[in-house]
Symmetry: C2
Subunit: 410 residues, 2 copies
């Protein structure tokens, strides 16, 4: 038995580097950038007109001139033109290059145009106003996006702007999700009196999809030789195996034995937490090099998460252990989120308690209200809540107003 | 000119119902459930063994008996067996049906087994312990998931459990994203001195992808007849048109005129906000019925969002108007999120100020720290922030510690 903190540290010590792949930038949302992105030119790349109106030489305005003959139009997307006579003006459009020999833009709202003459109708304008000067936002070569940023819509816009149609991102681990348990039948089947439908693999698939990981799934019956032969193959083919079930004390909980026989190194079994206590965690030593070259890089280990089979146990352990392991593996730094407990909670067992909570935003603060489920089997209770609040062991009473770590799942 | 509150209300008054479609449950994450989901049986469906151990008749223990002959094993997934002699016991596995004529489970940790006899090693056990009784969590027919829930991994598990391999969800609107502006070139092109690359359409694609909306995109040059003919077609083919650019006062800002000529009803143009002021919003009257049947349902209107072309303007207006419009259209109730301002802000113009902020979680509270960008053209500044804080008009000074609405985008 190991504490939650030690278990998490052990898990984090096994993170792996799955390398980098280059993908079309529009497919990269949610992925982790694996190259720094620099400005390929100044931003803006020219003195850019920031308002629709007229461009003038400010000196003329300062000298008292108010009426300007319109010499031409500078449209966005047109080659820069030149003001021929400094007493004249040029109509300019937002996004256009500021015409040569002009330096200031007066917006249409402050101008009246008649017979080809624009008259400025306000008394004060500022030298250089409404001009977004070349390189004001960023200089060519400036770092725009750090490596290891999670790509969102904001980054997509920047990638487009600098012409990165392909972008390097962290490769995803190859994950197999395995359910066990002879009581389980398919979603499309009608369970007999002693059966229930499979659900944990699908929950896990969805939790991994949130990380943009596509996973494979399978079900293996509680048959030790079959388990052993299948898992042996998966250890060769996958970077990560996630199991749900068969890690406790039951007569048919074969996984710990099978792992041992397959020389999967046990790093811990059982964590002082509720739910999810019988969690088994380990890693498989590197394969022989002949096998290796077929499937994966040398030095890679297959990481094995053996989650307990109760629905909430599998769910919370995926969030509390697999997620941080994944984030560290791909190089994403995440910040711990905390919330304020909305009511008193007593919890007698000396275990870390992952308690389901509803979250409410009150005046900028996140308040967590426990929703009592019926224990680790009550999957439907997750529908009513949004997070787990992590109440530490060695404490019996948790008071309303105290602040604890939360793990959101919606 | 219209206030942000009035603009939002006007937008929300145009929400549409795009109907329902049935899709495989595993594809439904992020979609909005359009049917209530009920328990198809009791949860658990039988008296379920909750610990690996032995099942006994509690009466025997109460009478002082401690050693029980093991009659057999009840595995998970096996047909229920019956205890033949009430002084004996049956080994039981988590997830199994509780054997007939037993009512209490003693876990292996509290039992020693020798020569086929299990001896209970603790003094106190409770009648019915470690049995998850039939229907304890939910009764057959109970409502498990409300209609209009956004489906997450938790709901996926429940859908699997009740055998909903297909599920009814809100259909997505058909969206076309149009950029305009002759200064724009493709992501793969090298801009000339007066050009920049397209970026807003890709930002919008990504923002819509977050809502699981797949959109089409196109670019139209600043050519009025071309704009008119293309937009006429799009009004027939799409539920929503999102434009970026060409809605301000420029000579080539043809969209308002084109919309008018195409009889798109203008609901407002310009909102008292920064950035994003020249926002144009309207809807197209229903098409003639002959055209209608080809493309869409009767009574449907095409909703037209004409966002200003500056990157931050497009970005914030999509979040502040399109998102709430979409959520209301599909029936999702959302809650306003607020944060605590982390430092004083002064803002002189009498406009609602959408200010970019970094968010930090401090003792369960969300603190928003403004990051000054270089105005609405500075797309790269969005990379450093996570949300907009919405500072209301009619106020000049916003104090550290005050609470305002935020709109997150990561």
């Amino acid at each position: 038995m190991i504490s939650v903190a030690n278990a998490l540290q052990t898990v984090l010590n096994t993170t792996q580097d799955y390398g980098v792949e280059e993908i079309p930038f529009l497919k990269s949302v949610g992925r982790i950038l694996k190259e720094p992105v620099f400005a390929d030119s100044h931003f803006p790349p020219f003195n850019r007109v920031a308002m629709d109106g007229i461009a003038i030489d400010f000196y003329q305005f300062k000298s008292g001139q108010r009426a300007f003959l319109i010499e031409g139009i500078q449209a966005a997307g047109s080659v820069q033109i030149t003001l021929q006579n400094s007493k004249n003006c040029i109509e300019v459009m937002t996004g256009a290059v500021l015409p040569n020999h002009t330096n200031t833009v007066v917006r249409y709202e402050d101008v009246s145009v008649e017979n080809g003459i624009a008259t400025i109708t306000i008394d004060a304008i500022i030298d250089g106003q409404n001009v977004h000067t070349k390189g004001k936002d960023r200089r060519s070569g400036d770092l725009l996006i750090h490596e290891n940023t999670r790509i969102s819509a904001a980054e997509i816009g920047v990638l487009a702007t600098v012409g990165k149609s392909y972008v390097k991102v962290a490769k995803q681990p190859k994950v197999m999700i395995v359910s066990t348990g002879d009581e389980l039948v398919g979603v499309d089947e009608i369970p007999l009196a002693h059966q229930i439908r499979r659900s944990n693999v699908f929950t896990l698939v969805s939790l991994l999809e949130k990380l943009n990981i596509t996973s494979d799934t399978t079900h293996i019956t509680d048959d030790k030789p079959l388990l052993k032969s299948k898992i042996k193959t998966y250890l060769q083919q996958y970077d990560v195996l996630l199991f749900s079930g068969a890690v406790s004390k039951g007569k048919y909980d074969f996984l710990p034995e099978v792992f041992e026989e397959l020389e999967v190194e046990k790093l811990f079994h059982k964590v002082t937490q509720r739910p999810g206590k019988p969690f088994w965690f380990g890693r498989a030593a590197s394969l022989s090099s002949s096998e290796l070259h077929v499937y994966q890089n040398e030095n890679k280990q297959t990481i094995v998460f053996g989650f307990p089979g109760n629905p909430i146990s599998t769910f919370v352990n995926c969030l509390a252990y697999f997620y941080p392991w994944y984030y560290k593996s791909i190089g994403l730094e995440t910040e711990e989120e905390t919330a304020i407990l909305g009511e008193d909670v007593n919890f007698r067992p000396n275990l870390t308690y992952f308690l389901q909570v509803k979250l409410e935003n009150k005046k900028g603060c996140i308040v967590a209200f426990p929703i009592a489920g019926n224990g680790s089997g009550d999957l439907a209770s997750l529908v009513k809540t949004a997070a787990f609040i992590q109440l530490p062991e060695d404490t019996l009473a948790f008071k309303k107003g105290e602040v604890f770590k939360i793990i959101r799942y919606r």
